[in-house]
């Protein structure tokens, strides 16, 4: 199993390297001169030349890329053109906010999704099942910006329960977390329901009942342990995609997170910053998928010990 994980890790690193290269090249073939953007249209050509040299932009692209890689490995992603601070510092500050948002959204989504999925499965075809599955379908199919603006309109504008897009304390995270987690709650609920229903048909559930387990014991001791395996995998993927920058949600609620930073980088033609945020987000997504894959292998004894027996 360790070998498997090592193999997947190597694969993940390779993908990351590929993405880094692709981003690097793409950002250099798009039109527009970064120095001019930074210094303004009427900058002194001498200064422009000096800047170009200082930033190493006149060197061959391969040299530039290798230098960038070397920096990235040590956590140095260069200096932001538009904010004149180190990219890693900017991302570090933004990531803190993104983490808060993502954790809040994930906890909301998972609690709601898992609980309603379990209830729906246990009360299959009942009123609650239909209600939850209807709502979760809405959850899965509603785009984030719509949920976000709807929530803002109702709870901030009409009811004044929470501030509109001004995050001062934890209450500011409530609406963004719901908006960001809504989709995930829907998918988790549906997946929990379907895997649980499948597991409840299994022979070992009969065995557990024949042993004298009541409905609750069957559910918690036998059914959920099996049903949660695929759900946990989905959770890992969801968390990593939330962490890698909820661009729309952060923008609508003015949360200074990674997603918003990326948007600012684009509008400022800030290549180092954009490069950094993209690479960072990609790394998170790849990491999330890696964790999800490995999680299954660690949690399911059939896979975990498969290579031993």
């Amino acid at each position: 199993m360790l070998l498997n994980i090592a193999k997947r890790l190597a694969q993940a690193l390779l993908v990351l390297l590929g993405v880094a290269l692709a981003v690097f090249i793409m950002l250099r073939i798009i039109p527009g001169n970064a120095i001019i953007t930074m210094m303004g249209e009427h900058a002194d050509p001498v200064i422009i030349d000096r800047m170009t040299e200082e930033l190493g932009l006149n060197e061959p692209i391969t040299v530039q890329f290798l230098r960038y890689l070397k920096g990235a490995v040590t956590g140095d992603f260069g200096t932001s053109y538009s904010m004149h601070r180190s990219v890693s510092e900017l991302m570090g500050a933004a990531f803190g906010n993104t983490v808060k948002l993502a954790l809040a959204a994930a906890i909301f989504a998972w609690l709601l999704g898992i609980v309603s999925g379990i209830i729906a499965a246990v009360r299959k075809n009942g009123l609650l099942d239909r209600l939850f599955m209807g709502v979760s379908l809405l959850g899965v199919s509603m785009p984030v910006f719509m949920t976000a603006m709807l929530l803002q309109y109702v709870f901030a504008y009409l009811l004044h329960w929470v501030p509109i897009s001004r995050v001062t304390d934890w209450r500011g995270y409530i609406l963004p977390a719901i908006a960001l987690g809504w989709n995930s709650a829907g998918s988790i609920a549906r997946l929990t329901r379907s895997t649980l229903l499948e597991v409840l048909q299994a022979d070992y559930i009969d065995t557990a009942r024949a042993k004298g387990r009541g409905q609750l014991g069957v559910l918690t001791r036998h059914a959920l342990r099996n049903a949660m395996l695929p759900v946990l995998t989905m959770m890992a993927v969801q968390l990593s995609s939330m962490l890698s920058g909820a661009v729309i949600c952060e923008t609508i609620f003015s949360i200074n997170g990674i997603g918003r930073l990326a948007v600012q980088a684009i509008s400022g033609r800030d290549i180092p910053l954009l490069q950094g945020t993209i690479l960072f987000s990609t790394a998170l997504v790849i990491l999330g998928n890696f964790v999800a894959d490995s999680l299954y292998a660690v949690l399911d004894p059939r896979i975990r010990r498969g290579s031993e027996s």
């Binding site: 299994a202 022979d203 070992y204 065995t207 009942r209 024949a210 042993k211 009541g214 036998h222 059939r302």
Partner: protein
Amino acid sequence: MGDKNVLEIRHLRTSFFTQKGEIRAVDDVSLDVPEGKITGIVGESGCGKSMTARTVLRLLKYPGKLVGGEILFDGRDLTKLTEKEMAKIRGGEISMIFQEPMTSLNPVVRVGKQVEEALRLHRRLPAREARRQAVAMLDAVGIAEAEKRAHCYPHELSGGMRQRVMIAMAMICKPKLLIADEPTTALDVTVQAQILNLMKRLRDNGTSILLISHDLGVVAQVCDTVYVMYAGRIVEQAEVCELFDHAAHPYTRGLLGAVSSLGSGAATLETIPGVVPNLLHLPAGCAFSLRCGECRADCAGHLPELRECAPGHRVRCHRIGEVSA
């Protein structure tokens, strides 16, 4: 009748209520399981054996439903108990082994834990003592290195081993009655013989067993009394020697023929012509009349009684009544 019965089933009815109509999977079944004996139910696949067993433990799944009858166990009628009271009996006083050892164990729980679970549930034993007893039980059902095996997950064990684990699991609380639903069907012949021997040993130690099988050979090896089921009904019942020497019902004789022709290597399926009928479309009378070589004109019209044709030997057939009349 000197012996006491652990279980007495009276006029039990279990049906599936489907869109096409009522399927009477268990139709007016009465049977006794005497203390310290192995009682067999035998019949072709689909005749209602498993449903009879599941009904006793009230483990029916929708759309299956208990329709009527009594299940007398230990002075109580199980059909009248609440789900909570039933849960106390399951695994504690009556336990059950299922046909598929491959899928009947929880794949993500160590087998030792699964064996001790009933102990902790019913006897509320502390973890250490429960573990000790579980290992002892695994050892008793013939699992070598029980201590080590207790740490295994089900997929790490062979089919025979898993069935032994199932038996250990069922026996851990020393139940008064063990229901074994085709415990050897999924196993190969040598393992099957080992498991059957284990069953006999359990009986000799005082456990009463209701053993279900589609295989008369299995029943002949271990059972004391046998009930033959066809299309949801008991069609014949007798002590095992009486049944094999003086099988009365044409269906039983057909099954016996199938066994002996299996031994002689001849084609087996020809012995009883046709297939088990669809339970949705049974004749009003004898369900076997559709396939019976000795069927008379009115056999399909009205249902024969289960009548005694010799002491302790009962049979449900018009022709038998005719012969003895």
